[in-house]
Amino acid sequence: MFSSLVAFGLRAGWELGLVRYRPAHAVGLDQHSVLISGMGATILISVIAAAISIVLGLIVALPGQSSNRWLRLINRIYVEFVRSIPLLPMLFWVFYGLPIIFRSMGLNIPIDPFWGAIITLAISDSAFTAEIYRSGIQSIARGQSEAAQTIGLNYRQTMRYVILPQAIRRILPPLANQFIYIVKMSAFASVIGMQELTRRANELVVTEYRPLEIYSLLIVEYLILVLIISAGVRWLERRMGADERV
């Protein structure tokens, strides 16, 4: 992709662009370091948001499996409500709106772009994570929890020792998918001023006015990130035997 872009650039006579975005060139190296400087923030935001979402999703999913219909209702309301909110409005609400609520409650909790992005991504994603847990848990045959009950395990023990260890193999691939989604959605954090990949690219576009080259490189950066995650997940799946057919 990069080489064809270079070829295209040559034909169009964009020498300047080539020099500026070629890693071997001193100026290019400089521009690259600006672009790549957002990488740490993107990774950090995504990893923390995903970690929160994985825990929050399970907390949301378990009441959905209860025999108590009020608990099930709480689960449904959370999932339907949260997944109906588009990410960008939610980001604005958290970043600009939530501090006002905090202030009216007499609390002084500032929300910076970093935590604003994490809270939004984590909550938004947790509704989907919860549904992934649900489908994973429900895919385990009923006989498994019945057998657990007949050997005296309570609900919590049944989940912990019998259902979840089996469900996790089926949950892992879609969960990895969600993580990739979070990495990409973290680009929205740029609009509230978070200095991550997309924000850096935008800043560079403003000073260099080379949108084609810069945004193309930005896409390549996300591509590399996602490919690394995919490889990591494949490795994890193999280790847990999730690729075996049951």
Binding site: G143, Q144, Q149, G152, N154
Partner: protein, 246 residues
């Protein structure tokens, strides 16, 4: 007065509008062996599933050693593995080794140490004659071996009563005998057993009560000699002639 191991008085159950169990009365003395047979859909599995509260009953009383079992979660929890169950589909935990399948209940529900649980597990594996399979995964075993592991798993909880829900129906013919042999031995050792089965040879050998069910009712109930020699009702005659004709 000796206390019945299991007592069912006028038990009724509906699945929606469908009346699955109609006024079931059944008393099982300690050490007794009851065999329940009947055409499919007659409610025989539902009877045993109500006894260990895998299913809720709507009317009537079920007692375990004189203590009433209600559908209240606390009551269900109080059974705590006192009523063992062997399922048609074995329902072994596929992610755990044979030994871990056996040790899970004793360790988590009974609070045994790992060493105690392992000793107990090996003891019962010996009794079902597969001590050498302890470290294998369930799916590496034949159907007959899996079902014997399932029996051993129930025995590890040292239950007061052992329920069997068509334990040989999912087995290849050549494996039925090895499972029935184990069940006959258990019966001879004095275990209280309620067995849903079509294996009439087994019934003749061990049962001291035969129960014939049809359309949710106990149609016939008596000692096996009488039951097989002169079934009183036409429904029972027809059923017996159908399953005994080969």
């Amino acid at each position: 007065m000796s206390q019945a191991a299991i007592e069912m008085v006028a038990v009724n159950k509906w699945f929606g509008d469908f009346h699955v169990l109609k006024d079931i009365n059944l008393t099982v003395e300690p050490g007794a062996k009851v065999v329940i047979c009947g055409p499919s859909g007659s409610g025989k599995s539902t009877v045993v599933r109500c006894i260990n509260k895998l299913e809720a009953h709507q009317k009537g009383t079920i007692r375990l050693q004189g203590r009433e079992l209600t559908n209240d979660p606390k009551s269900v929890a109080s059974i705590q593995g006192k009523i063992g169950m062997v399922f048609q589909q074995f329902n072994l935990f596929p992610h755990l080794s044979v030994l871990d399948n056996l040790m899970l209940g004793p360790m988590k529900a009974r609070g045994l140490t790992r060493a105690e649980a392992e000793e107990r597990a090996r003891h019962y594996l010996e009794r079902v004659r597969i001590p050498d399979q302890a470290d294998k995964m369930p799916k590496a075993l034949s159907g007959g071996q899996q079902q014997r592991v399932a029996i051993a798993r129930s025995l590890c909880m040292e239950p007061e009563v052992l329920l069997f829900d068509e334990p040989t129906s999912a087995l290849d013919p050549e494996m039925i005998a090895e499972v029935l042999d184990v069940m006959v031995e258990l019966a001879q050792e004095g275990m209280t057993m309620i067995v849903v089965t079509h294996e009439m040879g087994f019934a003749r050998k061990v049962a001291d009560q035969m129960v014939f069910m049809d359309q949710g009712e106990i149609v016939e109930h008596g000692p096996p000699d009488e039951f097989f020699a002169n079934p009183k009702t036409e429904r029972c005659q027809t059923f017996l002639s159908q399953i005994l004709q080969h």
